[in-house]
């Protein structure tokens, strides 16, 4: 069980000054190394003594990882860029407002100043059984405590459960998927670019991790193509309180609307499944349709097909339906 102590367990701290140095350390220490970005996820784990890495690699001294570069092809945002800088960047606000909207509702202003885009995307799930150190599937055990007859699972998933019912907590992840973003991952043997939609790993594939990142891997940047620049965006995050809270559910939509007709669209929800989910059935249903209340209602109905609520989260079915409906309509009202 988690034990909160005044002192964290000892670890060796490295503060490399370059990406190559960081990669060298990650390569050297492999699964023993823990990557520290803004620290918002990290310190919980370490102070609770649930995760006990022997080596922590702090990326805070690598300026190259916190640059935002705009070009005709789109935008490249360093993984260590603070969320508040993402929110305030002029190109993000003008062309990719969806990402600004998503980043702007992460936690609180202080946390957005400290938290990074890379950290927000790669953060671990908030399932309290897991985070409190219960020996569940995700922690290497053989049970999901959140999906038992007596479990408290109000915040857990209604889609995509596969033994584990935890949800992805990232606010920016659905926006990046909707923008067809790509994530640049480097390791000792080179660089690979992963579509945001493929970056997240569900428990049906690997129950112990949330993303494709493996020991030795480092997320260095997020590339956003110009495909959806200036499109009609909609982001909404539903939460118990309006600040410093994780999403109960969120929706990110990018749509190309011409004369009231949806020419192309991306609809992505989060907080509903172990990974952010792109609702391709909804996209197919509304593509070529007029933006009307009827189209939006139809989209909401399609979104909830196949949902399987747990004991305490049936409200998420209505939430999912309403979020998708409003995102197609384009207004919260």
């Amino acid at each position: 069980m988690a034990v909160i102590r005044d002192n964290m367990p000892a670890f060796e701290l490295f503060q490399p000054a370059s990406t190559d140095d960081a990669l060298g350390l990650l390569n050297q220490y492999g699964s023993e190394a823990w990557v520290l970005a803004g620290g918002l996820d990290t310190w919980d784990w370490l102070k609770d003594r649930v995760k006990r890495p022997s080596v922590v690699v702090d990326l805070g001294n690598i300026p190259a990882l916190r640059e935002i570069q705009a070009s005709g092809a789109g935008l490249e945002i360093g993984a260590m860029t603070p969320l508040s800088e993402v929110v305030g960047h002029s190109v993000v606000r003008e062309q990719y407002q969806l990402l600004a909207d998503a980043a702007a509702v992460v936690a609180s202003p202080q946390i957005r100043n400290q938290g990074t885009l890379g950290g927000n995307v790669t953060q671990d799930t908030r399932c309290w059984y897991y985070r409190d150190g219960w020996n569940c599937y995700r922690a290497g055990g053989n049970i999901c405590y959140a999906d038992t007859p007596t479990a408290m699972n109000r915040e857990h998933c209604v889609l995509g459960a596969s033994r584990c019912v935890a949800v992805n907590p990232s606010d920016t992840a659905p926006a990046l998927i909707a923008l067809d973003a790509q994530l640049v991952v480097r390791n000792g043997s080179g660089e690979r670019v992963v579509d945001a939609a493929e970056f997240f790993v569900g428990p049906e594939v690997d129950i112990e991790r949330m993303t494709v990142l493996e020991p030795g891997d480092l997320l260095t940047a997020v590339r956003i193509p110009s495909t959806w620049a200036g499109a009609r965006f909609y982001f909404e995050k539903s939460r118990d309180r309006q600040v410093w809270d994780f999403a109960l559910g969120s929706v990110a939509t990018a749509a190309k609307v011409n004369g009231g007709v949806i020419e192309d669209i991306r609809v992505v929800v989060n907080g509903m499944a172990p990974t952010p989910v792109r609702l391709t059935a909804v996209e197919d249903a509304v593509r070529g349709q007029q933006v009307t209340d009827q189209t939006a209602e139809q989209a909401g109905q399609i979104a909830v097909r196949g949902v399987k609520p747990l004991a305490h989260n049936a409200y998420k079915v209505s939430l999912l339906k309403n979020l998708v409906t409003r995102s197609i309509r384009g207004t919260e009202a």
Binding site: A139, G140, N142, I143, P149, S162, R163, E204, V205, D206
Partner: protein
């Protein structure tokens, strides 16, 4: 080497979780080691033994009347038995691939394929039990007290002693030993696998993660893992023998159902596997 993985239950007590990966690797490398050993044995030792015991056994040893009484083709496996074998083989391979490949880094959505293959294996084994019990020569695949004496004689012969050893009945002793191992591992895997269905969402049973106590679940997972790891070795060696040129006639019999007269007389004792021209069956 770690044998098991341990974790804590909600009360902080240490409980079994599953077998360690070391056991899986051990099973795999034991299978590979056995294959390498047998390759050397077959290349070096078997020709030596053949020269030492030249002249005995084989078709030539059978009397003319015996040869005449044996049909050209002898049925070794019925169609029903062959269908069972290949369904079991397919489901077993699917279970091994879905059970172990993700653990060694080949990741894909494995769980649904795994439990469906498990249910298929269960149904096919139930069918096999009924079929073998009431429609086949049930005792032909089992090991009896008389086999111990034969095993001792065969070992002596392998060690170069001039010992007379009878040719095989329908199923050689090593086949019957293999069947015994597969039966034990298979029943353990099936029994534990059926219980583990309660841990996942399937249309087969209602999910109930608290069906057993954490300690008991650990034992179920360990037994399932041990039987699965055993199948890694058993499957490797089985495939090795199935593709060996000198055994291919047996593999063909599992495809087409028959062995020819020459192989029958070379490898089997007509008194222990009685075949008549009228029946063509053993």
């Amino acid at each position: 080497m770690e044998l098991f993985e341990w974790g804590n239950n909600p009360w902080g007590q240490e409980v079994l979780i599953r077998i360690s990966m070391d056991i899986l690797y051990l099973s795999f490398w034991a299978g590979i080691a056995f294959i390498l050993f047998h390759l050397i044995y077959a290349a070096v030792w078997v020709p030596k033994l053949a020269r030492a015991h030249a002249g005995g056994g084989g078709a030539g040893a059978a009397g003319g009347d015996t040869v005449a009484a044996v049909p050209e083709k002898i049925e070794r496996h019925t169609m029903a038995a062959r269908v069972f074998h290949w369904i079991m083989a397919a489901s077993m391979l699917a279970l091994i691939i879905t059970g172990f490949f993700p653990l060694v880094g080949v990741e894909f959505p494995w769980l649904t394929i795994h439990w469906v293959a498990g249910v298929l294996l269960t149904v096919s084994v139930l069918y096999h039990i009924v079929h073998a019990s009431f429609f086949l020569d049930f005792w032909s695949i089992w090991i009896g007290p008389g086999d111990i004496q034969e095993a001792i004689q065969r070992v002596k012969r392998q060690l170069g002693q001039d010992v007379e050893v009878k040719r095989h009945p329908k199923y050689p002793l090593d086949h019957r030993l293999y069947h015994m191992a597969v039966m034990l591992a298979g029943l353990a895997a099936i029994g534990t696998g059926l219980v583990m269905l309660f841990r996942i969402d399937t249309p087969v049973v209602a999910r109930n993660a608290y069906l057993l106590a954490a300690e008991t679940w650990g034992l179920v997972y360990v037994l399932h893992g041990l039987s699965g790891a055993a199948f890694v070795m058993l499957t490797l060696t089985h495939i090795y023998f199935a593709v060996r040129p000198d055994k291919i006639w047996m593999t063909k019999s599992m495809l087409f159902g028959y062995v020819d007269r020459e192989h029958y007389l070379d490898h089997h004792d007509p008194e222990r596997w009685i075949v008549t021209r009228e029946s063509g069956k053993g």
